[in-house]
Homo-oligomer: 130 residues x 2
DNA sequence: ATAGCTGCAAATGCTTTGCAAGGCC
DNA sequence: GGCCTTGCAAAGCATTTGCAGCTAT
């Protein structure tokens, strides 16, 4: 029935009412970019009775399990991304919206004499504004 | 005499003792990447008697004047960069150090069908780890 | 039964701010 | 002198944590 319950179990996370209903908000509508504040608001709108602390805990748990990615845009709030595949972002400054860019649509060539050690990740954000 | 005093005046910032001495730490040693905490520590080491609040105020003033750039690495602290030219970054995760990459050493091609509006800036951070 | 989770409130960590005292033009 | 800046302490915000009570297994 509920597929997400199994995903939680697979990651050794108990499928509590709160996790399942927040998971529904996060993963049932395609790729999303969300903050703890937005998630709490949407949860309230659906009368889910989830505390703000639990929203933070759940986001951290999902992130640790690899179900969410973090995106650094500004220093104020943490954004979470339901797309955990390698990709880049466009940030629409007017609406504070994030849009995914597939690595196929962008070509980055770094002169590798600059890199020492292992590349762990490459973060790219194009900030646009009309 | 003190060249930085004139720079401050040009930006309508009064050349107070605090601004001039923090400016010396920031701009007299080539390009630097620094947080409010690091700057306060270095200021203390030189017995400058600058309060933490003033460190924050000065960083904000310099940033607003275009003398410093901000770099988003993590959500915890704000990094400031004395290099305000367009460029990219390598973040050394082991030492939490930032290294500049010149735009000449990296080639980014974005399929421009993806971009609507004006590109305000392109932020790229390569996180390495050995 | 019990290990894990939730909710509340308090604590934390970075940063900002109000206001009185001091410094620059 | 007058306005800007500083310093201190308090406030602000996003986030984390301690702990008692609850829930999934």
């Amino acid at each position: 029935m509920n597929n997400f319950v199994n995903i939680l179990r697979k990651h050794k996370l108990r499928p509590t009412k709160q996790r399942v209903s927040l998971g529904k908000i996060l993963f049932d509508k395609g790729n999303r970019h969300i903050t703890a504040e937005i998630l709490k608001n949407e949860s309230d709108k659906e009368n889910l009775k989830v505390s703000q602390a639990t929203v933070y805990n759940v986001l951290n748990d999902f992130y640790s399990a690899g179900l969410l990615a973090k995106v650094n845009i500004d220093d104020d709030k943490t954004w979470y991304d339901t797309n955990v595949e390698h990709h880049y972002h466009i940030f629409l400054e007017n609406s504070s919206e994030l849009v995914d860019i597939s690595p196929d649509d962008i070509d980055i060539k770094i002169s590798n004499k600059l890199i020492t050690g292992q590349i762990r990740r490459v973060d790219l954000v194009v900030k646009v504004n009309d």
